[in-house]
């Protein structure tokens, strides 16, 4: 069951989105702003990450939104699995990074 969950192939986009969420950016626009990726890339990535249960979304308190006179916002955050994946990916990219620094010195 759910074998596709075991090792979802994360695109760079996905990784960037995870990283942005880890840094505390919680809304689609903010993530776009900080990653510099277009919203047409960010949103589908968020949907996919949510489907993979690396990310979960929740809705802002309705009362609060109402007070501010705007629709309630949907915010995103990392799940435990998302955090784990991000950590693994980070380690992997750091190793790859060392590979590159080593070569540039030589």
């Amino acid at each position: 069951m759910r074998t596709y969950m075991a090792d979802p192939a994360l695109s760079y986009t996905g990784l960037f989105v995870l990283q942005a969420l880890a840094r505390g950016y919680r809304f689609g626009f903010d993530i776009m702003d900080v990653t510099g990726l277009p919203s047409g890339t960010i949103y589908p990535a968020l949907r996919r990450l949510e489907a993979l249960e690396l990310v979960r979304s929740d809705w802002e308190n309705e009362e609060r939104a109402h007070k501010k006179g705007r629709p309630r916002r949907r915010y995103y955050e990392l799940t435990a699995a998302g955090k784990r994946h991000l950590a693994e990916a980070e380690a992997r990219y750091r190793a790859v990074g060392q590979l590159f620094t080593g070569r540039s010195r030589a």
Binding site: R2, G28, M32, S39, I42, P44, A51
Partner: protein
């Protein structure tokens, strides 16, 4: 401006989003655009940035069609079940009234089942605690057996790995300060090894303990060790057993109670090597001749069967071997009696049938509780049709809905178990203080309760779950009130009918069994049983010689006679008047009627009646006279019989007739002639009620014992309060001989209560179950019918708006409730009658169905149905139709 364009874009794209996600998608993007506009307001080219951001919605709306289909584990049947549990616990916590009622209903049913199970577990499937691998043990009873037979059996049957032997005895045990009567057993030295029973402190018996010179050792039970030595060490202490000095070498494991009879009441407390027999058992008497209730064997051989052999084959071999071993031991006319059975099965199919009959009632209570729960779940489901429809519309499969409702059911069941188990533990431990039946909550009982609760909830939550999920998404979203048309309430109506049927069946059955149990505690025939004290003594516990015993009892009667407040004192065997269920063989006299041949002996209840026994017991003399001092000679020449014997043997004219009497196991040539000089009223023996309509048996009493009687009971008739005289009697006995342990002093009334305590408990449990069932059923019926009527409020409103009178509305709803109740009670009556037929076939003393009680129960249920239909109907018919019609 850019915000407006962006919004328009979102609205345009909205139609492309999947229907189920459309609203949320729109809301999210609206909020994001607002956010983007705000965040970029201070930046250059902010309008363009907002538009560029909004353009991403196109890619997003396309991705919505792709991603959710592959996502969220569709197809995996258990995917997301954790969320189901979380959501279910939240929603159950929110609906406190519902949860409490369902859990209460279920708990009562589960408690009834589990309680009954724990009693059966404790009392009816006997096991010997602390004995290893009991199913590999075989018990062998042989008439006139000896300890030596164990070796012969082992040699005869290769499948026996070893054979041990035990002889139960009652013994006087004393340390320096106190003397107590203890149930004990003489055992072969391999006894503990064969049983695989562990010794908690010290050691068990060694083969060398079997030698007479080393035999003055004992293993004592945990309880006895506590009684004698408190928390101090028992091993190594010297005690006196039946007047013999004995050293304690070991203390058995606390759970170990021996193997003579299971149950805490018959627990053995001290074990001695068989070599002690000549010292602690009555000298000069064959071990098998000791007075024990008939049908109970004295020596039991317990054999362990090797793992490779089949028990059935071994049983056959052992029967044959024991029969051949004993063929020439018994004089010709008597039958050789041997019995071989596995230790693990002591109760036969008869008992199993009775258990099934008794378990039926708690099962009915459980069913009623379950139906209550099912109905509540159904009602809640109906109220949640919209919720379900929304979930279906959002793309939840039907299985997900059913699964969620089942998860709720499982949570309710677990809650019910969590409530039941501590409650049951408390109730059983409280009960145990009164009646040590040993019923307790163990893993088996908890497992049983859990299984019962889960099974019932799954069974009863499934129908509502399937039913609720069957409503399509349109049903609830389209019409504001699903489920208010009459045909939709048919399931609930059926439940009402079933509940009436079950409650009726339960109550009628309980009502029918109660008198059967009550008759067991019937009259005794004695004048005021609360003023008759019975004080048992057993000089065999002290290993006293017959002459010594005779002297003691003579002095005792004389001494107690002088205690103030005592009217009459008599002495006889414990079961000479009433056998308390042991049967006439427990105190027999062998009688040859006039003209009977030596072979035509009869075994009749009775025996030695010393002192003023008849007056003390309070039985009236009908004809002739009582015993006089001149009758008290060693070989009795006169006798008194009871009315039943006079009627059965002499057609009423018993006075002056001469019969021959003898002790058990004595031959015709040793019998004496006695003349019947008196006829007394028969005592009533409740136990006989079971097998015949006449609760009396023939009895014969003699002025002197026919054989040495080491164990006799003092019958003391008190003028006033009998129980307060116990200390005075104890003191009197001590002044005659301080070494003799005084048995438990009880009144006849208390003995009757004690004797039938299990039956009384059953009766009380039945009554309790009946009341529980009725309460549950009435509450459930009320809730169910009130709900049904409340569902029709709108319909009633319409009818009233069209001009129906309130009275007609009332009649309409009452008719519906009554029709259901009538059908239900018809079925219930049939169930009750069927149960009564089964019960009468399987249990003694069950009277025929009491139709008046049945009708009375039906009337109570009808009243509940009536009240339940009336109140909501009246409320509905009173409100303004416009208000009802306007209600959401």
């Amino acid at each position: 401006m850019s915000v407006k364009i962006s919004r328009a874009l979102i609205y345009a794209l909205r139609r492309l989003a999947p229907r189920a996600l459309r609203d949320r998608w729109t809301e999210e993007w609206q909020a994001e655009i607002e956010h983007a506009a705000e965040a970029t307001s201070r930046q250059p080219r902010s309008a363009l940035r907002v538009l560029r951001f909004a353009a991403g919605a196109l890619a997003d709306v396309v991705s919505l069609h792709r991603v959710p289909r592959t996502a969220v584990g569709r197809g995996a049947p258990l995917h997301g079940i954790r969320e189901d549990f979380r959501y279910a616990s939240r929603s159950l916590a929110a609906a406190k009234g519902f949860t409490t009622t369902v859990v209460a209903s279920l708990s009562i049913g589960v408690a009834a089942m589990a309680g009954a199970y724990s009693f059966i577990n404790a009392g009816m499937f006997p096991r010997f605690p602390g004995v290893a691998d009991q199913e590999r043990l075989v018990e062998i009873y042989i008439d006139r057996s000896t300890f030596e037979d164990a070796g012969a059996l082992r040699n005869a049957i290769p499948a026996f790995t070893d054979v041990s032997t035990t002889l139960p005895l009652s013994l006087a045990v004393s340390d320096r300060e106190q003397t107590v009567a203890a149930r004990g057993a003489l055992v072969s030295t391999n006894y503990f090894d064969v049983l695989g029973a562990r010794v908690a402190a010290g050691r068990g018996f060694l083969p060398s303990d079997g030698l007479a010179a080393n035999a003055a050792v004992a293993v004592i039970g945990h309880q006895l060790a506590r009684r004698l030595f408190g928390t101090g060490a028992a091993v190594g202490q010297s005690i006196t057993v039946a007047g013999q000095p004995v050293q304690v070498i070991g203390v058995a494991e606390p759970v170990f109670q021996g193997t003579n009879r299971s149950g805490p009441r018959w627990a053995r407390e001290i074990w001695l090597p068989a070599a002690m027999a000549p010292l602690v058992a009555v000298p000069g008497q064959d071990l098998n001749e000791r007075t024990l209730p008939a049908g109970q064997f004295q020596l039991t051989h317990v054999a362990r069967v090797s793992r490779s052999s089949s028990i059935d084959a071994v049983l056959t071999q052992a029967s044959a071997a024991s029969a051949s071993m004993t063929r020439d031991r018994v004089p010709a006319p008597r039958r050789v009696y041997t019995r071989v059975q596995p230790s693990s099965d002591r109760y036969d199919a008869e008992m199993a049938r009775q258990i099934a009959a008794v378990m039926l009632l708690p099962f009915l209570v459980l069913l009623i509780g379950c139906i209550n729960a099912a109905n509540l779940i159904l009602a809640r489901g109906t109220a949640r049709v919209r919720d379900v429809a929304v979930r279906l519309a959002l793309g939840a499969g039907r299985w997900r809905i059913v699964r969620y409702l089942l998860v709720e059911g499982v949570l309710l069941a677990l809650l019910a178990v969590a409530v039941t188990v501590p409650l049951l533990m408390w109730v059983l431990s409280a009960l145990d203080a009164f009646v040590p039946l040993g019923a307790h909550v163990d893993v088996g009982v908890i497992a049983f309760a859990t299984a019962a609760a889960l099974a019932s909830v799954l069974l009863f939550a499934l129908a509502p779950a399937v039913r609720v999920s069957a409503a399509g998404p349109g049903a609830a979203l389209g019409s504001s009130r699903a489920g208010d048309t009459p045909h939709r309430s048919r399931l609930r109506q059926a439940l009402v009918g079933v509940q009436v049927a079950l409650a009726l069946g339960l109550l009628a059955t309980g009502g029918q069994l109660l008198p059967a149990v009550a008759s067991l505690m019937a009259v005794t025939g004695a004048a005021d049983p609360s003023r008759l004290l019975m004080v048992p003594f057993d000089l065999a516990q002290l290993n006293a010689a017959p002459a010594e015993a005779e002297r003691f009892y003579g002095a005792l009667v004389e001494r107690v006679q002088r205690v103030s407040g005592v009217d009459h004192v008599g002495i006889a065997r414990t079961s000479a008047i009433w056998t308390f269920g042991h049967g006439k063989g427990s105190s027999p006299v062998i009688v040859w009627l006039p003209g009977a041949s030596p072979k035509e002996s009869k075994l009749i209840l009775g025996g030695y009646a010393g002192g003023d026994l008849i007056q003390a017991v309070g039985i009236a003399l009908r004809q002739g006279r009582l015993f006089a001092a001149a009758d008290r000679v060693a070989r009795p020449r006169v006798a008194i019989v009871n009315g039943t014997a006079a009627r059965e043997f002499f057609a009423g004219a018993a006075l002056g007739r001469v019969i021959k009497v003898g002790a058990r196991n004595r031959e015709y040539v040793e019998a004496h002639d006695v003349e019947i000089v008196g006829v007394i009223d028969p005592a009533l023996e409740p136990a006989y009620v079971r097998s015949s309509d006449d609760p009396t048996v023939p009895a014969i009493y003699l002025p002197a014992p026919l054989e040495p009687e080491p164990a006799l009971t003092l019958y003391v008739r008190a003028r006033g309060d009998a129980t307060s005289m116990a200390p005075a009697i104890r003191e009197a006995a001590a002044s005659v001989d301080p070494r003799v342990p005084v048995g438990e002093i009880t009144t006849l009334a208390a003995m009757q209560r004690e004797r039938f305590i299990e039956e009384r408990l059953v009766a009380q449990a039945l009554a309790l179950l009946g009341v529980l069932g009725l309460t549950l059923a009435c509450g459930g019926l009320y809730g169910m019918i009130a709900f049904l009527v409340a569902m029709r409020r709108r319909e009633i409103g319409v009818r009233m708006a069209l001009g129906a009178e309130p009275r007609r509305i009332l009649r309409l709803t009452l008719k519906q409730g009554m029709t259901t109740a009538l059908i239900g009670s018809g079925i219930g009556g049939a169930i009750a009658i069927a149960i009564s037929v089964v019960a009468r076939a399987n249990m003694y003393g069950v009277p025929p169905m009491d139709l008046i009680a049945l009708a009375g129960t039906a009337a109570i249920l009808f009243a509940a149905v009536l009240v339940a239909s009336f109140i909501p109907a009246r409320n509905a018919s009173r409100v303004d139709p416009l208000v009802v019609l306007r209600e959401e």
